[in-house]
């Protein structure tokens, strides 16, 4: 493992419905770094996220997180991962508090501090007033925020977020962006995919650009813009979409 690398991805290949969704992907993520993954639809972003979150396995290559080979022993690393899926993985018939109580139980949060933790993440995501309301009554943005809250209950060192700002109102988008910056300050390692690339420009230390399963560029937002000749990431995305 390279010195300072918390996550090490080497030569990863993954097929999806007969076609290669990821082709020989290699990159590192340093501890405390925020890594953005961008690319047009079908680039392989969610597939890559699902591999890092230990939901799926690649056909070849290796992934190490904190020195643990997650293909051999995924169970060892899951407790230190916080995963925010693209869809709101929440029970609509339960209240916000009941949903968080469930996920706290899943991650083995100590009963003595559970209530405290739940109240904390609800405050963090500005949902404390709605904690006893059923999720089915929430707006899209509130659901997204609760979805993120559920991944923070066990204080994960690594946060993997798949499109956390997709389809949300501006207030929720700002709240989520503020939260990510807050988490970054607290030293958490964050991997994030988003269509709102302008958000990523301010949040991410480094960005990798995928297209049709290939890793095209990797570097800081400034380096990427320099090497691609684009004024900003949005312009780069437009160019990639056109190609």
């Amino acid at each position: 493992m390279r010195s300072g690398s918390l996550i090490e991805v080497r030569g990863v290949n993954k097929k999806y419905r007969g076609r290669k969704a990821l082709k020989d992907i290699t990159f590192d993520v340093r501890e405390g770094e925020v890594l953005g993954i961008i690319g047009p639809n079908g680039a392989g972003k969610t597939t890559l996220i699902s591999l890092l979150a230990t939901i799926n396995r690649p056909e070849s290559g290796s992934i190490h997180i904190s020195g643990v080979d997650i293909l051999k022993d995924p169970g060892k690393i899951r407790a230190s991962l916080g995963y925010v899926p693209q869809e709101n993985a929440l029970y609509p018939m339960l209240t916000a508090y009941e949903n968080l109580d469930f996920w706290a139980g899943i991650y083995g949060v100590d009963k003595k501090v559970k209530k405290e933790k739940i109240d904390f993440v609800l405050r963090l995501l500005r949902l404390e007033d709605r904690k006893d309301d059923k999720v089915r009554t929430f707006s899209g943005g509130m659901k997204k925020r609760l979805n993120i809250a559920a991944s923070l209950l066990h204080d994960p060192g690594i946060l993997i977020m798949d499109e956390p700002t997709a389809g949300v109102d501006i207030l929720s988008r700002v709240t989520i962006a503020d939260l990510i910056l807050e988490l970054k300050k607290s030293g958490r390692t964050i991997i994030i995919t988003s269509h709102h690339v302008d958000d990523l420009e301010d949040i991410c230390d480094r960005i990798i650009v995928l297209r049709e399963g290939n890793l095209l560029y990797s570097g800081s937002p400034g380096e990427i813009m320099e090497s691609t000749g684009c004024g900003d990431l949005e312009q780069l995305m437009l160019r990639l979409e056109e190609v």
């Binding site: 999806y16 419905r17 969704a21 079908g42 680039a43 392989g44 972003k45 969610t46 597939t47 699902s50 979150a53 230990t54 939901i55 799926n56 169970g75 899951r78 407790a79 991962l81 995963y83 899926p85 693209q86 869809e87 709101n88 993985a89 929440l90 029970y91 609509p92 018939m93 339960l94 009941e98 469930f102 706290a104 139980g105 899943i106 991650y107 083995g108 993997i160 399963g213």
Partner: protein, 404 residues
């Protein structure tokens, strides 16, 4: 274990949110047993599947012999009433479904028999009351065969007497006497075949249908858990759980346990109902019922997990499960005893949970041997494992399919 406890507690919370549905699951089986057993009781008590029906006798001969035929028909259990009418009226009665069939006796039938050239009668059937018509036709054929045999016997005697040099008048006289004696013997018939009741166990319709339908109730009781599992997959909760430090089988295991709990509650309610309805002896067989109950519940829960795995939405799962259960009820003999179903149904029934479960429960109550109970339980267990393996394969395949 903490992961399993969290999932199970949450499942319990969600299921109990819909108290009305839970209550229905406990009350409806009792109502179903009451209705089905009262509707189907005649079927069990008389060991017959057709209610007595009316037939028409068109007697164009009007001889004493055809009168005797009418009296013999009247003695049959299946005949409710004999209506005497002409052929036109007979056709009208059949058309209006007021009679199931008509036997038409031709003119001079008795005389034609006397002259060794019997005229043919006929049976008018009804396509609406097909089974009844078939029964009348068979009765007619059997009667006709008996008459033909008698005539053949007399004819042989006549030939032999003629050969031995009897004069025609003498032989004719002898034959007429023999014919009269034959008819008298037929009327004073010594039964060659007697009816003996096959099942003397004294089946109580309530107990019979409670046991026969138990598998159906158990299968319905696993539907809420199945819908929950389908919803969890649709909402992405299963996918998120795959990234959590909880073995993936815990989700399905929790639903299995919950399903078993609901089934157990149903089982207890039905047993209490049977006891109140007077089936004290049946309740005393509870020890023999337990393996069948456990394996049925396991098979039903595994089946529902399989349905959840192949369905994309809760509604689709609901539809598939309900239709499958309905099919199993019909083919598996839960409603109509298997012996009264067509051969194809009997063959297909071996693939259904309801067939083996009903067999197991009925043997637990009425049987004296433990082997059929163990056979049913073993097959149900094998079915459960089969469904679980299939569900696990489907879920694994779907897990690999993550959008790019």
């Amino acid at each position: 274990m903490s992961g399993f406890t969290a999932i199970f507690k949450n499942d319990l919370k969600i299921i109990f949110k819909d108290l009305k549905a839970l209550l229905m699951l406990l009350v409806l089986p009792v109502l179903a047993v009451l209705l089905v057993s009262s509707a189907m009781a005649p079927l069990l008590e008389h060991s017959k599947f057709i209610e007595p029906f009316k037939i028409v006798l068109v007697d164009n001969d009007k001889s004493p012999w055809t009168g005797l035929l009418a009296s013999q028909l009247r003695n049959l259990d299946i005949v409710e009433k004999i209506i005497f009418a002409d052929e036109e009226e007979a056709r009208r009665l059949i058309e209006n479904e007021e009679a199931a069939a008509a036997i038409i006796i031709p003119e001079n039938l008795a005389e034609s028999i006397d002259y060794w050239e019997p005229k043919s009668g006929k049976v008018l059937g009804s396509s609406v009351k097909y089974l009844e018509s078939q029964l009348v036709k068979n009765v007619g054929f059997v009667g006709s065969d008996a008459v033909s045999s008698g005539i053949a016997a007399l004819s042989v005697i006549y030939d032999m007497e003629t050969e031995k040099g009897y004069r025609f008048e003498e032989a004719q006289e002898e034959i007429n006497r023999a014919f009269e004696a034959f008819v008298n013997l037929v009327l004073d018939r010594k039964a060659v075949i007697r009816e003996e009741e096959y099942d003397k166990r004294g089946i109580d319709p309530v107990v019979y249908y409670a046991m026969s339908l138990m598998s159906v109730f158990i299968m319905f009781s696993s539907i809420p858990c199945m819908k929950l599992l389908t919803d969890e997959r649709r909402l992405g909760i299963l996918s998120r759980l795959n990234a959590a430090p909880v073995p993936s089988f815990h989700t399905a295991a929790s639903k299995l346990v919950l399903s078993l709990m609901i089934s157990a509650a149903q089982f207890i309610v039905i047993l209490i109902f049977i006891r109140i309805a007077g089936g004290r002896e049946a309740v005393s067989s509870i020890g023999s019922m337990i393996p069948v109950f456990l394996t049925t519940s396991f098979a039903a829960a595994a089946f529902s997990i399989f349905v959840a795995s192949i369905s994309s939405t809760g509604s689709a799962a609901d539809l598939i499960a309900n239709l499958s259960i309905l099919l199993m009820v019909v083919v598996g003999g839960s409603l109509y005893p298997l012996s009264s179903l067509p051969a194809i149904c009997r063959r297909l029934s071996v693939l259904t949970i309801s067939r083996w479960s009903s067999d197991g429960f009925l043997n637990a109550i009425y049987g004296e041997d433990i082997r059929p109970i163990l056979t049913s339980s073993g097959i149900l267990l094998a079915m459960a494992l089969f469904y679980l393996i299939c569900a696990s394969l489907v879920l694994r395949t779907r897990r690999r399919r993550v959008e790019g």
